[in-house]
Amino acid sequence: MEALDEIKVRIEAAIPGARLEIIPNPGPANQSSLLLDHAHASTVARFLRDDPALRLDYCSNVTGVDWLERTVKKKVKVKKVVEGEEKELEETREEIFSGYLEAVYHLYSMAHKHGPLVVRLRTRDRAEGAHLPSLTPVWRSAEFQEREIYDLYGIHFDGHPDLRRILMWDEFTDHPMRKDYREPDDYEYEPTPHDDVLEKAKQHYVPRPAQDGTANIAAQ
């Protein structure tokens, strides 16, 4: 399979309005990905599937990812004039990335047997109305996986034939895989709690009965 930027160029040639962006993958796995815009997502997907050179006819994996608001501290080398002479200064600059919800598609080709092309769809609005174009009409294997992303992340896929909850029960209203999901505090007999479980368990502890004698002092 040719390199990602060549594919990007060919897609932009084939589909004029498509706005594509390459997201680099810093890790050693070097599987960089292609960010699609909502309007042309399905046309680009159909192109990827039907293009004779690519023939990406097999969508292996569809994953939902929730990126929270994050502030990244970066050490930036800044030239500053200090007491009259130039000096290289280390300055930690805080950069705020706004949160977004994401669906990542790993595409393979069974015809040419070549490797993953990673396609991403992002939506900034993390409230209840997050919408993304569904690629199930293009690859049937995305049907259950997109339903799972709707169930656990709350992304509505437009154009999905049968968008229902797949794993949780229908009366469930939350989206549990989001990073800011707090599960109901059903405390119950926690004999071995530590760190966050300990905090939750603390409010339910019966205060130790006042024991006179040294045992109590030693245990404090």
Binding site: P176, Y189, Y205, R208, P209
Partner: protein, 209 residues
């Protein structure tokens, strides 16, 4: 046995030497029920595979009279809760328990069925089936070995053997006041309602400073 033994042991062994067997209605009744427990064919997760391995040829459950796995709860005496009980599955398990005829027992097999086990921090995992139905024998382990399930089977048989037919401490299923049916939890917006059945589930309070 708190009360006086129905038959004097010395007399009984004496008669046995002559080839005469003496027993009481209760012993006969318990002996019959103890050696023909029909488990419900009901596996949830990995422990179910170990339960099938126990019923297979090497660790033979048939030697304890328990190899007849009945798919329908109407013909089952024992429900082996083998595997993780999720909140979506809990109402179904309580409904199956309700639909079983009365002398019924529950073995909670595996860490997940006792306390949620390794998946205890999951949002969809019930922290143990004894929140909704009374459990007779608990088997720790993840999954417990087939011999551990056989040991629990023998433990359950000892428990059945100890049940009395009459008198104050008689068996639960003979006592009119003891309910043989428990309310099925409903699916709520965030969790099951009620999260636990108060009159079945009594966790001890932990004193900690």
């Amino acid at each position: 046995m708190a009360s006086a033994p129905p038959i004097d042991e010395g007399l009984r062994s004496e008669l046995q030497k002559q080839g005469i067997w003496v027993t009481s209605m209760q012993e006969l009744y318990n002996w019959g029920r103890r050696n023909s427990i029909w488990p419900l064919q009901f596996g949830l997760a990995c422990c179910a595979i170990e339960m099938i391995a126990t019923a297979a040829s090497r660790y033979d459950l048939a030697r304890f009279g328990g190899e007849v796995f009945r798919p329908s709860p109407r013909q089952a005496d024992l429900m082996i809760v083998a595997g993780t009980v999720t909140k979506k599955m809990a109402p179904q398990i309580v409904r199956l328990y309700n639909q079983m005829p009365d002398p019924k027992y529950v073995i909670s097999m595996g860490a997940c069925a006792i306390s949620g086990g390794p998946f205890k921090q999951g949002y969809n995992v019930l922290k143990g089936i004894d929140r909704y139905i009374p459990v007779d024998v608990y088997i720790p382990g993840c999954p417990p070995r087939p011999e551990a399930l056989l040991h629990a089977f023998m433990e359950l048989q000892r428990k059945i053997d100890g049940q009395k037919l009459t008198g104050t401490g008689k068996a639960a299923f003979l006592d009119k006041t003891v309910p043989s049916e428990f309310p099925v939890p409903a699916f709520g917006a965030h969790d099951l309602e009620p999260p636990a059945n108060a009159d079945v589930f009594h966790p001890p309070k932990i004193e900690r400073h």
